[in-house]
Amino acid sequence: MGHRILALIIKEFLALFRDKKSRMAVIVPPILQLLIFGYAATFDLENAALAVFNEDPGAVSRALIGRFEGSVGFKLVGYLQSDTEIGPLIDRQDALLVLHIDRQCSAHLAVGESCPVQVIIDGRNSNTAMLALNYVRSIISDFNQEWAEQSLGAKLPAQLNIRAWFNPNLESRWFIVPGIIALLAMIVTLVVTALSVAREREAGTFDQLLVTPLHPWEILIGKAMPGLIVGVGEASLIILVTVFWFRIPLVGSLATLYPALIIYVLSIIGVGLMISSFSTTLQQALLGAFLFIVPAVILSGFSTPIANMPKFMQMLTYLDPMRYFLTIVRRVFLEGAGLEYFWYDLWPMTIIAVVTLSMATWLFRHRMY
C-alpha cells in the first residue's frame, strides 16, 4: 500500500516539474516577488512631494519649513507665490501636499497667539493622505512642544515618553515582510494544488485514477504531498531571505513557526484540492483559486488591520486561514511569542484543514460530471 502512495506522489511531482516552464513558474516568481514586494510594500512615507506657500516674512515659518526639509518623509519640490498655483499643482499630482503658512504667523506668535498653518493634501489616495497628514502632525507637534518649553522658559508641567516595543523605529517593513511569507506560501501552495485534480479531470485521467485500487484518502495523500513539500520548502526559502537579506529580526523560534506553517500549508492544500476537485476544467479551477486568494488576502489583515474593518467583515475573517498564520508569523518574528500564545490561532486553522481536506476527499468520488 505504501508503495502505491509513493508511486502516486512521484507521478504528481513529475506532472508538476517535468515541464521546464511549469518548474520555472512555480519556483522563480515567489522569490522574485518577495524581493520586489519586500521593498515596495511599505507604509513609511519617503520623499513625498511637498510644496510650500509661505506668506510669512518672519523667522518662525523658516524654522518650521526647516523641520520639513530635514524630514526623510518629505521632499521640498518648490515654493509657491500665490494660492492660485495650489490647485493645478495638486491636480496634476506634482505635489502630494502644500503647506500654507499665514502672513501673520510670526507676528501672532510674538504676541502669544497661535499661528494658523494650513496643510492641503491630495486625498485621491486616502491611505497616503492619512500617512502624510500623520507625518505633518508629528513634525508640528514636536515643533510646538519645543516652542512651548522655550517660551515658558521651563519644562512643561508633564513629560510624555513614548516607546515602541518590538519595533523601536516603527519600520513598517518589519511588519509587512513577514506578512509576505504568509502571502507567498499561500499562493505557491494553492498554485500547486488548485490545478492538479482539475487538470486530470479535463484530461480524463482522473477517472482512471478512481478505478485503480487507490482509496480516496490515498489519492488525497498523493495529491497533497507536492503541495506540502513545495509550500513548506518555498516558505523556508522565503524565511531565509527575510532573515538574511531583509534583516528582519527573528526573535522567536523556528520550533514555534514550523508547526504553525505546516498546519497553515495543510489548510491551504485542503482549500486548493477542494477547489480543484469541484472543478471540471482548468478554467473553473483558475477562477476558483482567484475567488479564494483575493478575499483571503484582503481579509487576512495583510495590508490593513482587521480591527479597522466593520464588524461583519471581522466575522468573515475567522474563515480565512491566512488570518491566523499572519498573526503567528508576525508575532513570532517580532515579539518572539511562543506556541502558548497561539492556541486560539492554531485550532481554527486545524479545523479548516480537516474540513477542507475531508471535503476534497469526498468530492474526488462524488463530483461526477
Binding site: 516577488q33 510594500a41 494650513q118 502632525r137 508633564a158 499562493i187 490545478l195 476544467t281 488591520p305
Partner: protein
C-alpha cells in the same frame, strides 16, 4: 480586408461564444468576480485606526492623573481598559489584548504640584508600525490638549504655537471607500482580462484544435479578432456592472467624464486581455498558463499599482519596476477621473503608456502566432 473575412471572424466569434456559454465559468468571471471583490474591498479595507484598545495604568488616582486619563475616555480613537499594575498591562500587551499602555506612576500628582515635570510613560506595540504611529499621534494630541486645559485652569496661557488646519482635497471626510473602489476596479479588470483569455489559445493547442484552425483559410488577424472580441464584450459587461456598483452602491462621485472613463477602461481591458493571450500563446499548455496567470496577475496589480502602497515612497529601482505593471497607469487614471476630474496632465501620459502596452502585447501575440503558422 480579404473577401469572406467578416464571415470567418463572425464564425470564430460564434464558436467562442458557444464555448463561453457551455462552460459558464467565463460568465462568472465577468460578473460574479467583480460583485464579490467590490463588496469585500468596498467595505473591508481601511488604515484608519479607531477604538484602539489601550491599557490605562493609574497607580494613584489623584486629580491630575484622572483629568489626564479622562482624555482617553473621550477620544474616539481609544477604547481604554483600566488596569491596576504595569505588570498586568505588560502581560496584556504581550498577549495582544491591548495595543498600547499609558502609565501614570504613583507620585504623578505630587511631582506635578511640585513642578517636577513627572513623566507619562507610553508603550505602544510597534509590530504594526503604521497603527503604532497613528496611536503615537493621537496620544500626543490628548497630551497637549490636556496641558492647554490645565494651563487655562491655572490662569496661564499655553497655546500651541502652530495651529494646524488640514484640508484633504477630493475626499474631505477621508472615506476610504472613495479611493478603494476606483483602485479595486483596476485589480478586477486585471483579473478579468487574464482569467478570460489566459487559457483560450493554450486550450486550442492542447486539444489539437489549433492545427485544425490553421488549415482553414482563417488568417492570424482574423483568428485573434475572433478570440478577442467576445471576451472584450464580456469584460466590458463586467466593467459596466462594477461602475454601476461604484456609483449606486458605494456612491463614489464621478467628477470626470463618463465617456473618458469608458474609453480608458476599454484601453486597459485590451492590455489585460492582451496579457492573457500572450501568456496563452507563449506556454501553449493550459496548466502552465493557469500557473503563470495565478502568480503573475493579482499580486503585482495589488502591491505595485499604487493602489494600497504609495509608489513615490518605494526605492527608485522598484519604482522602475512598477512601470511594467499596466494596473499602475489605470489606477492613476481611475482615481483622477473619479475624484478629481478630467485632468489631462494625468490622463494623457497614462493612457499613452496603456496604449503602448496594448500594442506591445497584441503585437507579440500576433508575431508568435504567425511563426507557428509557417
Amino acid at each position: 480586408m480579404k473577401p469572406g473575412s467578416l464571415l470567418r471572424i463572425t464564425g470564430m466569434i460564434r464558436k467562442e461564444c458557444l464555448q463561453v456559454i457551455r462552460d459558464p465559468s467565463s460568465i462568472a468571471i465577468a460578473f460574479f468576480l467583480p460583485l464579490l471583490l467590490l463588496l469585500i474591498f468596498g467595505y473591508g479595507v481601511s488604515l484608519d485606526a479607531k477604538n484602539v484598545p489601550i491599557a490605562l495604568v493609574v497607580e494613584q488616582p489623584g486629580a491630575q492623573a484622572l483629568s489626564f486619563s479622562g482624555g482617553f475616555y473621550q477620544s474616539p480613537y481609544f477604547a481604554p481598559v483600566p488596569m491596576l499594575s504595569i505588570q498586568e498591562a505588560e502581560t496584556a500587551l504581550r498577549q495582544s489584548k491591548v495595543d498600547g499602555i499609558v502609565w501614570l506612576r504613583a507620585n504623578f500628582d505630587r511631582e506635578y504640584l511640585n513642578k517636577e515635570s513627572p513623566p507619562i510613560s507610553v508603550i505602544v506595540n510597534g509590530v504594526d508600525a503604521n497603527t503604532a504611529r497613528l496611536v503615537e499621534g493621537y496620544v500626543q494630541g490628548i497630551w497637549f490638549g490636556w496641558l492647554e486645559q490645565e494651563a487655562e485652569r491655572a490662569g496661564k496661557k499655553l497655546r500651541s504655537p502652530i495651529q494646524l488646519e488640514q484640508r484633504i482635497w477630493f475626499n474631505p471626510q477621508v472615506r476610504s471607500t472613495l479611493f478603494l473602489v476606483p483602485g479595486v476596479l483596476a485589480v478586477i479588470m486585471t483579473l478579468i482580462g487574464a482569467l478570460l483569455t489566459a487559457l483560450v489559445i493554450a486550450r486550442e493547442w492542447e486539444r489539437g484544435t489549433m492545427e485544425a484552425l490553421l488549415v482553414t483559410r482563417i488568417s492570424v488577424i482574423e483568428l485573434l479578432l475572433g478570440k478577442l472580441i467576445p471576451y472584450f464584450i464580456l469584460g466590458m459587461g463586467g466593467l459596466s456592472l462594477s461602475l454601476f456598483m461604484a456609483k449606486f452602491l458605494f456612491h463614489v462621485p464621478l467628477r470626470g467624464s463618463f465617456w473618458l472613463l469608458l474609453a480608458t477602461s476599454a484601453l486597459f481591458l485590451l492590455v489585460a486581455l492582451g496579457m492573457g493571450l500572450f501568456i496563452s500563446t507563449i506556454v501553449r499548455s493550459q496548466f502552465v498558463a493557469a500557473l503563470v496567470a495565478l502568480v503573475s496577475t493579482f499580486l503585482p496589480a495589488f502591491i505595485l499599482s499604487g493602489f494600497i502602497f504609495d509608489i513615490q515612497s518605494m526605492p527608485l529601482v522598484i519604482q522602475g519596476v512598477t512601470h511594467l505593471i499596466a494596473a499602475r497607469y489605470y489606477v492613476s487614471i481611475l482615481q483622477t477621473l473619479f475624484l478629481v476630474g478630467d485632468v489631462w496632465g494625468v490622463i494623457l501620459p497614462n493612457s499613452a503608456a496603456l496604449l503602448a502596452m496594448a500594442v506591445i502585447f497584441l503585437g507579440l501575440v500576433y508575431r508568435k502566432t504567425r511563426k507557428n503558422l509557417e
